[in-house]
Structure formats: C-alpha cells, structure tokens
C-alpha cells in the first residue's frame, strides 16, 4: 500500500480485561500517595527540602536530650513527651502550614480535582482521604521525636511503665491535636488556592493566634482573672493541647489551667473544630467539583 501508517499506531489498541480495585483499595492508594507527597516523596527533589529540614529540626533536640540522659545518667527525662510537642509547636505549625497546600490547594488550583471526581472515588471519600493523609503526616512528624525520646529513655534504664504511660498520654493528645490542626490548615488551603496565602493564613491560625492566647493567659493570671485566661485557651489548637495536657497531668504547665467543666469544654471544642473543619472541607471539594 502506498499510504504510510504512523509508527506509533502499529501495535493497535489493546483492551484491559484485568482486575480493577474496589473503592477501599483506591482510597488506600490515594492515602499513601498523599502521605508521601506531604513529605515531598514522589515529588521533585526541591519539595523534599522543607519537610525534611523541619523534621530534622524537630527531632534533633530529642536526640540531644537522649544523649544527655544517657551520658549523665539522669533518673528522669528533662522534658516530658507532651511538653516536647508544646516546645516544638512552631516547627509543627510551619510543617502543617507548608504541606497542607500540597494536599489541598494543588488539585483545586489546577482543577485536576475534576479528574479525580470523574473516577470511582466519591467526593466525600476523596476529601476525607486527603485529610487523613495530612493528619497522618502530622502524626508522623510529631511522634518521631517522641519515639526517639522514649527509646532513649528505655535504653538509659528509666522506668518502663512510667515512660509508657507518659508517652501514651502524649500520643492521645497528639491524635486529637493533629486532627484539629489538619482540619484548620486543610480548610484554609482549600479556600485560598494560592500557596502563599494559604501558608500565611495557616501561620496566623497556628502561630499568631496561639501567641496572643498565651499573652492573654499570662496577663489574666497576673490580674487574678483566671477564668478569662481559661476561656481564651479555647481559641487556638495549641492552647487547647497545652490546657488539656496540664489538666491531664501530662507534664505541661500553662498560666491558667482548665479544671472541672472547662476540661470538658476544651475537649468538646477540639472535637467540634476537627469535625466542623473536616465537614467544611468535604463541602468545599464537592462544590468545586460541580462547577
């Protein structure tokens, strides 16, 4: 035949008759991809720098503490597990602010969200899976230094049951706090699609507001108006974390610790914020999808 056929078409189209994963497996694939992306894995080399730099900075003090405990044989850790998170909350906040847009702004800004939602995964499952990836990334980020501390403490011969109890308390608090932080930063990132705005918004919510709350609590304590300080603690995820840690005797002290009904209020607000922000995230994605 005189007509020339293109090289690229020679093999012809092949159909796919193989197995197809169910929704749960697809969601798991999306979850793992999201978790990897939060640390820059599977993305460009440049995008690995910030998350690993922050992770290094956050874990380094724990390694130093372990070294000190081992060298001079202390009989307790100089810093508690929950207290360690409070001390490094700036780094955790920066990590959340910088990485939430990776999981929430990108799909919306480039509109690839439409391609996801034209596939089997329902929109709410997609939103929840993304949120779970971010929550897990924050858990990994905050738990790694705690594990370093824990392993170091055990190697230094500290009491196993004391250490384990303290660690489990810290983990329980982190489970709550990371869901709140992931909900807040995820929602901010899904609304302000420009990465810069999302980061600034998250920093305001996670760094500026807690700073103001701490100042208010310090003044309230000095002025003897403890209730004002306790109420102010409801306004930021970190003051909720510290307040609950103090009330639970997890090795953290705050200016105005909540007690009695306030503890319930702290817990309720944390759960409510996590639930409301996550629900808002789902709504936001579904709205974008229908446009």
């Amino acid at each position: 035949m005189a007509e020339r056929t293109g090289v690229i078409h020679d093999l012809g189209y092949r159909r796919y008759d193989g197995p197809r994963d169910g929704t749960a497996t697809i969601a798991r694939t999306l979850y793992v991809t999201g978790l990897r992306h939060a640390f820059g894995l599977g993305r460009s080399g440049k995008s690995k720098i910030l998350p690993f730099l922050l992770l290094g900075l956050c874990t380094l003090p724990a390694a130093i503490v372990v070294g000190v405990v081992t060298l001079i044989s202390l009989d307790e850790l100089p810093i508690g597990y929950a207290s360690y998170t409070t001390q490094t909350q700036l780094l955790v906040s920066l990590f959340a602010a910088a990485q939430a847009p990776v999981l929430f702004s990108r799909d919306l800004r480039h509109r690839s969200i439409v391609l996801y939602l034209a596939r089997p995964l329902p929109a709410p499952v997609f939103a929840l899976t993304r949120w779970l990836s971010l929550t897990s990334a924050l858990l990994v980020f905050t738990l790694l230094p705690q594990l370093v501390l824990y392993v170091g403490a055990l190697l230094a011969g500290l009491d196993v049951s004391d250490q384990t109890t303290a660690l489990l308390k810290a983990v329980a608090l982190l489970l709550l706090t990371t869901t709140v932080v992931a909900g807040i930063t995820g929602l901010i990132s899904s609304v302000s699609l420009r990465r810069g705005f999302a980061i600034v918004g998250s920093i305001v919510a996670l760094v500026v507001v807690p700073g103001v709350v701490t100042a208010v609590q310090a003044i309230a304590q000095a002025e003897g108006a403890d209730d004002v300080g306790v109420a102010a603690g409801l306004a930021s995820p970190w003051s909720l974390h510290s307040g609950l840690a103090d009330a639970w005797d997890a090795g953290v002290t705050v200016f105005t610790p909540p007690s009695g009904g306030w503890v319930v209020a702290y817990l309720a607000v944390a759960v409510l914020v996590a639930a409301v922000t996550t629900a808002a995230l789902v709504r936001r994605l579904m709205k974008v999808a229908s446009r």
């Binding site: 796919y16 197995p19 929704t23 497996t25 991809t33 993305r43 439409v114 034209a118 596939r119």
Partner: protein
Amino acid sequence: MTEDGEQVIATTGLTKHYGQVHALTDLDIEVGPGVTGLVGANGAGKSTLIKILLGLLEPTSGRASVLGHDIATAGEEIRRVVGYMPEHDCLPPDVSASDFVVHMARMSGLGASAARERSADVLRHVGLDEERYRPMGGFSTGMKQRAKLAQALVHDPRLVFLDEPTNGLDPAARTDMLRLVRRIGADFGIAVLVTSHLLGELEQVSDHVVVLDAGHLLRSSATGDFLEQTGSLLVEVVGGTTERDRFGEALAAAGLPCRPRGTAVVIDPAPQLPVHDLVRDTAADLGLGLMRLQPDRHHLEDVFLQGPASAQQEVARG
C-alpha cells in the same frame, strides 16, 4: 467492539436549573455506540449534560442512564467504566505526563503494574513520545490536550466524554485530534460523546449528531441525515459571476426557480419540467461550459438556520 444497537446513554425529561438560569430543559436523548457529536453554542448546556451524566451534578428533575446504570443510584459504577476529558485545563504543571497518567489509572482502580503498562500504551496512542517524561507545565496546548485525552482512556473505559477536545488547537493539531477521536470510536471500540461548538468538525467524525440549543434538544439524528439531499440542484458554469448571472437569468426565463450561491446557481425543484435537459440546453444555447451539476446537500449549520427564531437569538447571545 461495543455491540450494535446497545444503548449507551439515555435521558428522559432531564432538566437542570441554576436559579433563574435554565441550563437544560426537558431533554430526551438516546446515544448509541460509535462517535456521537454533541453540538451547541457556548452555554447551550453541553458541559452541564456531561457533568450530570458523570454524577458530578445532580439534575433538577428527569432521569438518565449511562451504559445501563442509573445516574441517580449508580454513579460509582458509571465512573468506573467512563472516561472524561474536561474542556478546561486540569493538569498539574509540576508532574510529568507519564507519572500523572499512571496515577490517574490507579485512581480508576488499576493495579500498579497494569497502570504503568496501560499508561505507556495510551500515551503512545495519543502521540506523546519523549515529552511524556517532562513536567506538563511546559507543554504546548496540543500536548496538553493529548495528555488530557490519555488520562481519559488509560483505564480502558467503555465510553468517553470528550469536552471540546479541539479547543485552542492549530489546524494541523485539530485534524490530528479529530482523527484520533474517529479512531477511538472506530478502532478502539470505545463509545465517544464529543462536544464542539464547530459543526463542521463533527460532520467529519461523528456517526450521530445531537444538537443542543439553549438547553433544548434541537435535533438528534444520524450524521448522514443531516447531510441528506435537499432536492435542489447545484449547477456551475465556466467563468465568473457574469456568466453565472447570464446562465441564471436564462434558466429563470425557462421557468426554473433559481438563485445564486457563491459561484454556482441553485435550482429549486420543479417537478413539472425536465430540469436536467433544460440546464443542458440553456448552457448550450448560451455557449457556456457546464462545470458542475450535482444534488445540493444540507449542512449541519442548516439545523440552526431552521431552528426557532428565539433559539437563534440564544445562540447569538451564547
């Protein structure tokens, strides 16, 4: 191959209102296998219809089924076997086409190795070669359209929705894309619903054409029916407009109703007269050379010209 006669899409009384805006009104359409063109001006409701069929939008009222699945209850099953290429840009710029299409295959439920294999296959079919390893941010419009098409085909769907696939393409890339659309329907055996606001494009590739106008169904029939003979005769003589006019006047004098169109004369049917003989004799009498004598055919554009006046205004506004 999709079996002949199988119903791919069917809608009954499908309606979508956004407040005061009526995007779709009481739409009844049926789409079979092969390539179906969905034509309409911008804002005619083409994209809305596709989003409803994908389950991304809920209709205000009415029902629809895709590949035998009801959109109201089986959105997930539909999205499993359907591919979608949106009209707008939807590619993250910092990912390579290859990585992206693999990821999208996995999001459609293909395993890791199947996803890689199918992505390589499909990217080759759409004509992305070495570029597939580059970040898509640097792609030309033509390459982006190919990558968008690849992600719609990677999971081997039974039906693809292609929303304005030729948008923004230069003439050569446009021809390539249309050829690819034709191949998807004919060679790949995947049913295609392709939208365009350019009627001429769909004439070339579709087996069937559905015309939407301001959310209403204007017409739905096989492409051949649109292009059927009008009953008129198209005649052209050697020379310019002077010769054409002399010829036309002589024909009119002989009792044949006729009018000029371009360089040709359109003769309306006159059953009582031997039209062909008159044309031959008139040309011979005037000493003009007959260049063309053929039955006149409809064009897809005529559907709009025949539409209600109000509908035409909508098209003009859209």
